[in-house]
Symmetry: C2
Subunit: 138 residues, 2 copies
DNA sequence: ATGGGTGCAAAGGATTTGCAACATT
DNA sequence: AATGTTGCAAATCCTTTGCACCCAT
């Protein structure tokens, strides 16, 4: 079946699969564009005409809470989601708004130092600026 | 004068001082709590009864655009502002919501590596978890 | 029948916009 | 007078909430 990977991912994170959840996870896996709730909703509306935005909100929040996706707050206006939960940093282009993956700096064990003061549960490394494409278009 | 530092900071960043701008910058300098628009507005309402929230929005945005303050997107719900523009990381406690300063990892020149792909203008390193105080209160 | 999952409509909250009033040069 | 600044009210956008319906066990 086409959605085996999505289903397995849900199960792996203890999330009961449903038609909507499978479709949303499948979308996250196949689109590494760090989509917003609205983008996911719009993209899946054709496939699942009865889908509601509330469900997309609920589902993505559920994914994030269970570690099946990461919630990015790099964009001040709206939250984005990443189906790739491996540790990595993000770059957001201020012109086109796209978010790109980039490697974590070597010192990403840094939080160990902070461990004495804080119980660090999440690491978010964000860069902002202009992407190569937009830089050329000037 | 008490507000000399605030005025000098504004001038340094090419921002024309006004009563409101001076008061807001002064607040940012004296309160390293990473306040929200609402917190700044509420705190200054007594001092400047005619102050409007729109002005606080405009002013803090102006500060951020001119490099006189940093806009933090660590909290998914609302934006926070930091009058300390020296490079440093932030930790947000998920329980009490407070945001703490912390040192940047040694390899914060990391963006140099990214330079080939992106024009990096801002670095935001965020950590989330539980602060020592909240951890004790369990 | 029971509990979780979904979706509509309404509410809530943060932020922006339009525009008129105001201050300062 | 001219320009930049402020502030009110309304609008906008994102997100959450309340609740009824539905589906699968």
């Amino acid at each position: 079946m086409a959605n085996t990977v999505a289903i397995n991912t849900l199960v792996k994170y203890g999330i009961h699969p449903s038609v909507q959840r499978i479709a949303i996870m499948d979308y996250l896996i196949k689109h590494r564009t760090h989509p917003t709730v609205d983008e996911v909703y719009t993209a899946l509306s054709d496939e699942i005409p009865t889908l509601s935005k509330t469900t997309v909100y609920n589902t993505l929040k559920l994914f994030a809470e269970n570690g099946a996706a990461t919630m990015l707050t790099i964009d001040e206006r709206k939250v984005c989601f990443d189906g790739d939960v491996h540790p990595h940093a993000h770059f957001m282009c201020k012109k086109c708004g796209r978010i790109f993956d980039c490697p974590l700096p070597a010192a990403a064990e840094h939080p160990n130092i902070l461990g004495s003061y804080f119980k660090v549960e999440e690491i978010h490394y964000y860069y902002k600026g202009v992407c190569a494409e937009c830089e050329l278009e000037k």
